[in-house]
Amino acid sequence: MQGNIACAEGALAAGCSFFGGYPITPSTEVAEHMARILPKKGGTFIQMEDELASISSIIGASWAGARSMTATSGPGFSLMMENIGYAVMTETPIVIVNIQRGGPSTGQPTMGAQGDMMQCRFGSHGDYSTIALVPSTVQEMFDLTAKAFNLADRFRCPVFLMSDEIIGHMREKVTIPEEVDIIRRRPLKEGKLPFEPEDDMIPGFPEFGKGYRVHVTGLTHDERGYPEATNCELHSELVTRLVNKIESKRHEIADYDIINPQAEIVFITYGPPGRAVRQLMHDYSDLEIGHLNLRIVWPFPEKVLKEFPNASKFIVPELNMGQMAREIQRHTSIEVESLPKIGGEMHTPDELFRAMGGDS
């Protein structure tokens, strides 16, 4: 199964019932598959007129109760930025799939990259936090897309599946489970105000048409949802909560694999470079190397770095110019070596071997 199809299938398995999208290479297969399958399952596929409209439509669909998703790539992702901040501020659960390609601008439409990792975290204006999942196999494309819906519903925030052309267009065997865990958004409790948080800092969801006169705005708003944009204390409380409802759970929701935790040299990866590390370990089975492969990159679970007590060096191969390496660096006193690669091709196991100081 192709990665992009696995993504669409993962969404369908998770009960996604609305897709609003716009054609863009290399993500288009996600939309095409949804166009074919979603109507048969009683859902709705709409091809929108651009990416501003795509993300706007899934925000609307989410407020009307649907699990909703869009899929795009670089230029389309950039167009979505304003609405990503809106979804954060209005606590709207949506899933945004970014099949990353080489940028900036139109860049390399048919080549893989991981250049939008900081954009998905900081691309919209203002302070906020988000959740980003990154698959390194086609199976994970299915699994993590399904999982993204649960996280979006639980935390009431936009959740990103930050894949890339390499995994998106890769074909691998996928095991589709009988059913996937579905944890739907918690409805608003009787007597609670529409934006009044519960103990976990997350308000119940006051779905349109369920009896609430809910008022949804991107302006700084009180617990009733009404704007109070000049109230300093309210703004500070609201934005701090929007950040902390996610950041305070970062270790609980962390999703990663650890191999050889006693090793001194440790590769840290997310997405395609993890495959090269696995191949390296396979090719040189006597090498003492550790591997941390992250499936959730944002919020960054920095405590996981302590799982390698003997580490003397973290090597971070990424398909960008060193975006997450910088994030890792600020959480550790251990040497972090960035191993950037752009242009569209994956790291080869030999390149990783040479980065360790090996002679191949």
């Binding site: 716009y22 054609p23 863009i24 290479t25 288009t28 939309a31 095409e32 166009a35 074919r36 109507p39 048969k40 596929f45 091809q47 007129e49 651009d50 230029p75 167009l79 601008s105 139109t106």
Partner: protein, 297 residues
Amino acid sequence: MADERPEFFESGHRACGGCGPALAGRLIMKAAGENTIVVASTGCMEVFSTPYPETAWKTPWIHSLFQNAAAVASGIESSIKMQGRDEKVVVIAGDGATFDIGVLCISGAFERGHDITYICYDNEAYMNTGIQRSGATPYDASTTTSPAGKNSTGNSRPKKDMPAILAAHGAPYVATASIAYPTDMMKKVEKAINTKGPCYLQVHAPCCTGWGFDGAKTMEIGKAAINSGLWVNFEMEEGTVTKVKKVKRVPVDDYLKSQKRFRHLFKPEPKTEEIAKIQAIADKNAEKYGTDIVPKN
């Protein structure tokens, strides 16, 4: 008779054999001439005509984003005007860029009244990304995002009337043309370029790959569209239709049968109800523009 004017859109590019848009590009540039600055949108033409060493353009050429050619053209035109220069600014964009994602920028440019010519090469779907429907896709055409099947007869909406939208902006000259009538098309390009203010030309440019027909038949398909009444060649000046290509109209069936995108309307058996709906669209066009040649008694 050969048109001896020089070419500014060279041969040797990467388009499919029989590509309607490539022909449109060549003829537009022949008519526009050397003193032209071309603004492109993202699309097939951008992709097939630009990579080195098969670059086709012999004039200044700029591509920015999918949605903003009209805005980039606005800036170029204003800058040229400010300097007292006289180059012509011509946008050449596909139907996805024009009918869907670019409408905002086009509306802004036409409302502000920039002296630009906006030409849409209309191949009736997003072909560059692999045949997805656009606002220009005709009713019942099968595309990858409007797939025909057991429960679908293809694209569920009729083609958007983009010329009317731009005429409503007060554009002095709005016209449609077809690559199947090259001389007419080139005259319209010249007229649009030489008319002050924002002008719009929509060129029917059959796509053999996306529509599913033999690339040797591009001109034939273009003519058949006009003879069926599903495409009308007309000119509008200051909002009034001033010229229409008259035809001896034939039923839409043959035009539909000639392309794979409509094949589902005839197989396994003809969907007469759907074909009648398409015929009604052609009839309405004929009535609206008065295209039918009435036999003299």
